[in-house]
């Protein structure tokens, strides 16, 4: 090894990690104005939606995510093909929905995959995305079908019924968004203000208040911080002689946007922000923080960095391991930093411990596995820790990404879960237990893959992996046991029984029992290295069932996150784990034996 090479080995992880973090940081920079309209400033405006105050940017992103499963729209008005299409961000889309609904109705925002739903509306199955204009003529039928399907319990619905209910809910959300600030087909909010006290206007105020998705008018200083008003409520208050200062600039903002007047638009936003900073300074501060979080998408960036780390470690097994292995480690650390920053932001924004719903549990499970993997890599320094940690981090963030479809990932906590103490203790420990069990399973998979694919037999590596998995199983047993018991204590505090054999409790108990079985089988000598590894992989099956399967069962006090599509994903995962277990139990190189037997006649000729 030369001097220069030695230096490169030292600095490679720092360069790789530093670059990854810089890349993630760049994503958090403010957006440029579009056509002179300061969309960035618009995104900062605080509103109340879903029970909490958030920047309007979050409303835009979450709504578009719910309707289109993406945070932006591609719009191609003249049909010139995908290259001519313009990408419209969530903020601009929301402005169009609010103030230029005729244009917004043309954006292809409704993703419809179900062929029967498309058939019902007589639409061609050529694309996935449809505009509101395209589905509007069929909404009556959609509503009729959805109401019929609604009578059926969510678990019993057919694919068509679920899809039609889902489409109706999205169309309804879109309709409510359009009617949040002003009713389409009326002259707009400014006209409503001018005629607030006129006879007949109260009916429109009631319609606005009824439809509103978010409440843009902050409570006056000194009032209850929850008393935000919808535009309809503010208009009704105005008619009663009680004026909200922020109503008028919202009206100006809308007029200027519809009239394509950027300077008036920007001035209206500046006025609004000035007024809001006076009456709701905390909401403004919180909004500024949340918008950085929205833009940075730390969990998405973390996912990308974990993939890079994984690629680097794969490459290191083929080429220049002395440089690539530390590089991969550097990338893993960078991923962990980004992941941690994201988690910390969520905790600060929500004012709650990191795990509050299924989505955040996926984020946290990955985080725990990555940190554990980092520790293992520091102890063993063989690259396996890096590989498994990067894979675990990537997988869990992918899973989390697919759990965001319900909209706001920082929704409010239902009454019984509303306890920071228990969320911080029980939920965190049990989730760390999941992380540990998955990591042990991941190490066992690494053990299996290495045994079958490594060019030469290397019992020392296998033994090291088995040792790591053993250590992690001990760790997982500890956390899942403590977590389960803490859950029991929480249940004793809130429902009066320590243990109720509720499905989620049973799931946690299964993890504890399985880890205990693995450890006792090892201590008793009933299972050797290979058997323990197969059992560790089965731990993945049990943990995934306990984590997601229980929610699909739909009984018990814990069933907070039922998902129908996830059923197939879960089944696929379990099958893959069972297949891997078969490989674990097969002797190394068994397929090479077959291959060489076939190759022999060819070689002889």
């Amino acid at each position: 090894m030369t001097m220069a090479m030695g230096k490169l080995v030292k600095i490679a992880p720092w360069i790789a990690g530093g670059l990854a973090i810089a890349l993630a940081g760049a994503a958090a920079l403010p957006a440029r104005p579009v056509g002179g309209f300061d969309l960035e400033a618009f995104g900062h405006l605080p509103v109340l939606e879903g029970g909490r105050v958030k920047p309007v940017d979050s409303v835009a992103r979450n709504s578009l995510l719910m309707i289109r499963s993406k945070q932006s729209v591609r719009y191609d008005p003249d049909g010139e093909g995908p290259i001519a299409a313009r990408s419209i961000g969530a903020g601009e889309w929301l402005l169009d929905v609010l103030f230029r609904p005729d244009l917004a109705d043309k954006y292809p925002v409704f993703v419809i995959d179900d062929p029967e739903v498309l058939g019902l509306m007589g639409l061609e199955q050529s694309g996935r995305y449809f505009s509101f204009e395209a589905i509007a003529p069929h909404l009556g039928e959609v509503q009729r079908q959805a109401q019929a399907a609604h009578q059926i319990d969510a678990k019993q619905r057919t694919r068509f019924q679920s899809a039609i209910v889902n489409l109706f809910e999205r169309a309804y959300l879109y309709y409510r968004l359009k009617n949040t600030l002003q009713l389409p087909g009326t002259p707009g909010l400014a006209f409503e203000i001018a005629t607030a006290a006129a006879p007949g206007s109260s009916r429109r105020h009631a319609a606005l208040a009824e439809a509103a998705t978010f409440r843009p008018i902050p409570p006056p200083a000194g009032a209850s911080p929850d008393a935000w008003k919808s535009s309809g409520e503010a208009l009704a208050a105005l008619a009663a002689g009680q004026q909200d200062a922020t109503l008028e600039p919202w009206a100006r903002l809308g007029l200027a946007y519809a009239a394509r007047d950027p300077s008036s638009f920007n001035r209206a936003i500046a006025d609004l922000r000035g007024l809001e900073a006076e009456v709701a300074p905390a909401a403004v501060r919180q909004g500024d923080h949340e918008i950085v979080f929205n833009r940075a998408q730390p969990f998405y960036m973390g996912m990308v960095v974990y993939v890079l780390a994984l690629l680097a470690i794969f490459a290191s097994w083929l080429w220049k391991p002395e440089i690539l292995r530390p590089t991969a480690f550097g990338l893993l650390v960078a991923g962990a930093v980004i992941h941690t920053a994201g988690l910390a932001s969520r905790v600060i924004l929500q004012g709650r411990p990191p795990v509050t719903n299924l989505y955040s549990s996926a984020v946290f499970v990955g985080w725990g596995a990555v940190l554990l993997g980092l520790v293992i890599e520091r102890i063993y320094r063989r690259g396996f820790g890096t590989a498994v940690a990067a894979a675990a981090g990537f997988t869990s963030l992918i899973v989390a990404h697919h759990l965001t479809g319900d909209g706001d990932t920082m929704e409010m906590m239902r009454a019984v879960l509303d306890s920071n103490f228990w969320l911080a203790t029980h939920v965190i420990t049990i989730t760390i237990g999941y992380s540990g069990t998955f990591l042990a399973g991941g190490l066992a998979i690494a053990w299996t893959v290495r045994r079958h694919l490594a060019p030469r037999a290397d019992p020392a590596s296998g033994k090291a992996l088995a040792g790591m998995a053993y250590g992690v199983i001990c760790f997982a047993l500890f956390f899942s046991f403590v977590g389960t018991v803490l859950g029991g204590i929480w249940a004793d505090q809130s429902w009066g029984r320590f243990w109720g054999w509720d499905p989620k409790e049973n799931g946690a108990l299964l993890i504890v029992l399985w880890n205990a079985i693995i450890l006792h089988a090892r201590w008793g000598g009933y299972a050797r290295e290979r058997g323990i590894m197969a059992m560790a992989i089965f731990g993945n099956v049990i943990t995934s069932l306990s984590w997601f399967g229980v929610n699909m069962l739909g009984v018990g006090l814990h069933s907070y996150g039922f998902m129908d599509k996830a059923f197939w994903a879960l089944s696929g995962f379990i099958l893959s784990q069972l297949a891997l277990m078969v490989f674990t139990l097969l002797p190394p190189g068994f397929w090479r034996l077959g291959a060489s037997a076939q190759a022999r006649p060819g070689g002889a000729s």
Partner: protein
């Protein structure tokens, strides 16, 4: 050498294989119990798999049933015995194994706690409207036939006949009264129908004269109650007061007079009277602004106990039960436009055991894995130091040569 049978038994009882088998059996039971909850409800599934000695299989077409799997109670018992026996026989009494000792002691307590819960825990409910004062708890599942002497202006005399006695369909003496109830028929669960022309009613007195009964299979799910119906003849002083139909599906008051005293017959949830009373002053159901997501449920309750002179207000809300008189009162449900509150009342003399147990096991696991981790890290460091030392030695050799 022939091993005496008792040694074989001792070997089996202390073996690690038995431990693993029990843990595996427990996993099977837990999975079965979880899946069964979809159809049986939590209570039914737990009774079937967890609180039983055996899981029984009814042979189709016969009245026979076979035990096909050990139940939760048996598995738990064997596991506990195995733990204690193995601990006594195999484990060395050394500091190195201190963690294991503590863990196993804690686990034994945990199993014991679950047994205590299964045997002694009593679940009842306290249901009241705003402004109402209540001094009794009622069972969420069990019913009773109450004979109430409503003659006294100040208070009623109540005697409850439990379902168990009614099911015998014999004669029941009502203590403190001259009455006897002759139970003609008892349905644990039933359906009631309006009497059609051409049918005869089982009852000859009260509202039951217009009703027929049909037997129904007992309900096992958690969310519904049985509709129990009894056909009874109240007899006093050698005189029968007719045949009455009493059911918890009936709202109407049914009473008769014997020697100037009025007696009511009511089928209702089994009650337990308290020596103190609770008044619901206010029930609150808060939601997050602009949503229907519940934020909090709370009952402001006034507790008054004449025997101790206590009179105070208590707020019962999510995760904050009232613990009083060996019972815990939890906010469980609500109804009637947020004016009715349901408190779950639990009495479990063993409620502290799991707490002690979990502290023990946690400590034990920490001690044990701490010792193991230290050993592992030391070994790893030695393994890494070995090649380095070898290289250093080789270098020293080169310098010397």
């Amino acid at each position: 050498v022939k091993t005496p049978a008792r040694f074989l038994l001792w070997d089996a009882l202390t073996s690690l294989k038995l431990t693993i088998s029990c843990l595996a059996a427990l996993m099977v039971l837990v999975v079965a119990c979880t899946l069964a909850q979809v159809h049986l409800g939590t209570f039914g599934a737990v009774e079937l798999y967890m609180r039983s000695w055996f899981v029984w299989w009814d042979i189709p077409g016969t009245v026979l049933s076979l035990p096909i799997f050990p139940g939760g109670a048996l598995t738990g018992l064997v596991l506990a015995v195995n733990l204690i026996a193995a601990q006594a026989r195999r484990l060395e009494r050394s500091w190195r194994k201190a963690g294991i000792w503590i863990i196993h002691a804690g686990l034994i307590l945990l199993v014991l706690g679950e047994f205590m819960t299964g045997m002694y825990q009593v679940d009842t409910q306290l249901i009241f409207r705003e402004g109402q004062t209540t001094n009794f708890l009622q069972s969420p599942r069990e019913l009773e036939l109450a004979v109430i002497d409503t003659t006294g202006p100040a208070h009623d005399e109540v005697y409850g006949v439990p379902e168990r006695l009614l099911a015998r369909e014999g004669e029941v003496e009502i203590p403190g009264t001259p009455l006897r109830l002759r139970v003609r028929r008892f349905y644990q669960n039933s359906e009631l129908f309006r009497l059609q022309p051409g049918q005869t009613a089982p009852a000859t007195a009260g509202v039951g004269t217009g009703i027929t009964v049909r037997e129904a299979p007992p309900i096992t799910t958690d969310d519904r109650m049985n509709i129990a119906t009894a056909i009874v003849d109240p007899v006093a002083g050698g005189k029968s007061y007719g045949t009455w139909l009493v059911s918890n599906a009936l709202d109407a008051t049914q009473s008769f007079v014997h020697e100037g005293r009025t007696y009511q017959l009511v089928m209702r949830a089994k009650r337990e009277y308290l020596p103190y009373a609770l008044t619901l002053k206010d029930f609150k159901h808060d939601v997050y602004p602009g949503t229907e997501i519940p934020k909090n449920f709370s009952s402001l309750v006034h507790l008054s106990n004449p025997s101790t002179g206590e009179a105070r207000d208590v707020l019962v809300y999510m995760n904050q039960p009232l613990r009083y008189d060996g019972k815990a009162f939890y906010q469980a449900s609500f109804g009637e436009g947020d004016t009715l509150s349901v408190l779950q009342v639990v009495e479990n003399p063993g409620w502290l055991l799991p707490y002690v147990s979990c502290v023990l096991v946690t400590l034990g696991l920490l001690v044990h894995f701490g010792i193991a981790l230290r050993r592992g890290v030391r070994r790893q460091a030695e393994a890494r130091a070995r090649p380095a030392r070898a290289a250093a030695a080789a270098g020293a050799l080169e310098v010397q040569s």
